[in-house]
Amino acid sequence: MLIQVLISGLVIGCVYGLIALGYSLIYKASGLMSFAQGDMLTLGAFLGYMFYGQLKLPFVVSLVCVMLCMFGLGQLLERGIIRVLLKNNVLPVYIVLATIAISYIIQNAAMMIWGTQTLTFPPIFGSSLVELFGVKVQPEAIFCIIMSVICMLFLHVFMKYTRFGTAMRAAAMDPTAARACGINTSFSTGVTWGLSAGVAALGGMLLGPIYGVFTMLGAIIGRKGFSSAVIGGFGNMYGAMLGGILLGLIETGTSAYVSSAYKDMISYSILLIFLFVKPTGIFNEQAITE
C-alpha cells in the first residue's frame, strides 16, 4: 500500500509542481498571478487528446505540438491582454481578476468544443500494467513522474546556464538594470508566460491518460498548484516543485490512511499553517517581503 500511495502522491504532486512552477515564473517576471494556469493544463490535455487521440499522431509529436501551441497561447495572453492592461495602468489586483475571467472563458470554451463528458485519453504505453517494487502500476504514472522531473531539470539548466535564461532572471530581478544591459524585458516577460503555459500543458498531457480529460480537470489542480508554490516559497522554482510534491504526498497519504473526505481540509490547513508560521515557504523566498 505504501508504494502505491507514494506513486500516486508523486504523480499528482509532480503535476502540482509543474503548475506551481508556472505561478512562480509568472510572479517573478510580472509580479502578477495568473489564475488561468490550471486551465492551461486543461487545454493541454484536450489538445493532447486531439493530436494524439483523434489525429493519431505519435505521442512525442503530439507533445511537441501541444507545448508549442500552448507556448504561443501563453505569449498571446500576455501580449494581448496582460500587457495592454498594464499599459493602461490598471491595478494589479484587477489584472489578477482578469486572469480569473480568462480562466472561466477557457473552461466554457472547452465545454463548447469538447462537451461535458470525460474523454478517455488513449494509453501511451498500451493497456498493460507494469510491476514496480511488487505493486502493479500504470506505466503512465511512472512516465508522469519522470517527465516532470526532466522538465524541472531542463528548466533549471535553461534558467541557470544559458544566456537567455540568465537574461530572463535578470529581467525578473531588476527590469531597469536589465534594460540598461540591452535586454528586451517585454520580450522575456512574454516568453515567461509562454513557458508557464507550455509547462502546464505538459502537466495536462501527462495527467490525461491517468485521470481522463474533462473541462474541470485543471480548475482544482490550478488552486492546489498555487498553494504548492506558496508552501515551497512563492517565486522560487525549486520550492514550487518541492511544494507540489509535498502537497501531493500529504493529500494522497490522508486519503489512504485517514479518509479521502478530509484530504482537502488537511492539505489546506497545512497551507494556512505555512502562511502563519513560514510565509516565505520552504525555500525562504523573500519575494513577498521585498
Binding site: 530581478m173 538594470a177 534594460r179 528586451n184
Partner: protein, 250 residues
C-alpha cells in the same frame, strides 16, 4: 560621438532639462557636475532612453536616439551605471557580467532550449570573457559570491564592468565614487584611465571634485536644468558663475 542638440524635458509644469546642448569627443573622459537637483541624473536618463526629450535631439554616432528604448540604445553601444547601485544582487558576480554580455551573444531562445552545440560553445566563451572582465577590476576572486555580498565600492566596480561587457563606445557613470573610501577611489581613478585606454568615452557625474578635476578632460556644469558652463577643469574651477552656483547652494 555624442551630440545633444538643444534638448528640453518637462514633467508637467516643471522643466527638468532646459535647452541643453553638449558634444562629447571620442575617447575623452567628461564630467557632468552641478549642485543637487540640477538635473544631472535626469539628463542621463534622457540620453539613455528612460525619457524622450520634448524638444531637441540626441544623436549618438550618427544615430538619432529620440524615442529609442533603453535596451536598443544599449545595443547601439551606450552603457550606464546608476546612482543607486542596480545590480542583480542574488546572482553571482560573474553572472552579473554575463548579463552585461547578453547583447553580444547571438544564439536565440530556441537554440537555448535545444542546447545546440554552438550555443554551448558560445556560453562557454561568454563565461571566459566574463572572467576576463572581472580581472579588469580585480574581482575574479569573488566571481562566485552573490553580488549583494560585495562591499559598496566593489559593487560600484561590478556595475561598471557589467556595463563595459557589452563593449560600449560610451559609458555613463552616475556617481561611481559614491560610498568609496579613499583607497577605493584611487583604484577607481586607475580603472577609469584603463577604460579610456580601451577607447571608451566616459561621461560621469561625480561629487568628488578631487577625482573629477584630476581625471576629466572636459567638464559640463548644469544648474537648475540649464547648462551653466563648460570647459577644461582649470577653466571650470576659475569660472565665476560656477563658483557662485556652488557657494550659493550652501
Amino acid at each position: 560621438m555624442l551630440k545633444v542638440n538643444d534638448v528640453t524635458l518637462r514633467f508637467g509644469g516643471l522643466t527638468a532639462v532646459n535647452h541643453v546642448s553638449l558634444e562629447l569627443k571620442e575617447g575623452t573622459i567628461n564630467g557632468l557636475i552641478g549642485p543637487n537637483g540640477a538635473g544631472k541624473t535626469t539628463f542621463f536618463n534622457l540620453i539613455s532612453g528612460v525619457y524622450t526629450p520634448n524638444e531637441g535631439e540626441v544623436i549618438f554616432n550618427g544615430i538619432k536616439l529620440n524615442g529609442k528604448k533603453c535596451y536598443e540604445i544599449n545595443r547601439i553601444g551606450m552603457s550606464r551605471t546608476y546612482q543607486i547601485i542596480n545590480l542583480f544582487k542574488k546572482m553571482s558576480v560573474v553572472e552579473n557580467v554575463m548579463v552585461g554580455l547578453h547583447p553580444k551573444l547571438k544564439s536565440g531562445f530556441f537554440s537555448a532550449i535545444a542546447r545546440t552545440g554552438s550555443q554551448k560553445k558560445e556560453e562557454e566563451a561568454a563565461r571566459e570573457k566574463a572572467y576576463e572582465w572581472l580581472d579588469f577590476v580585480g574581482l575574479r576572486s569573488k566571481a562566485l559570491d552573490p553580488a549583494g555580498s560585495l562591499s559598496y565600492g566593489e559593487q560600484r566596480l561590478l556595475e561598471i564592468v557589467r556595463g563595459l561587457a557589452s563593449n560600449p563606445k560610451l559609458i555613463l557613470l552616475d556617481e561611481p565614487a559614491a560610498g568609496m573610501n579613499s583607497k577605493e577611489k584611487e583604484e577607481l581613478d586607475v580603472i577609469l584611465r584603463k577604460i579610456q585606454k580601451l577607447g571608451v568615452t566616459i561621461l560621469m557625474i561625480e561629487h568628488d571634485m578631487k577625482l573629477m578635476m584630476g581625471i576629466t578632460d572636459y567638464i559640463f556644469v548644469l544648474n537648475y536644468g540649464k547648462k551653466l558652463a563648460e570647459g577644461t577643469p582649470v577653466e571650470i574651477q576659475n569660472n565665476p558663475d560656477v563658483i557662485a552656483a556652488y557657494l550659493g547652494e550652501d
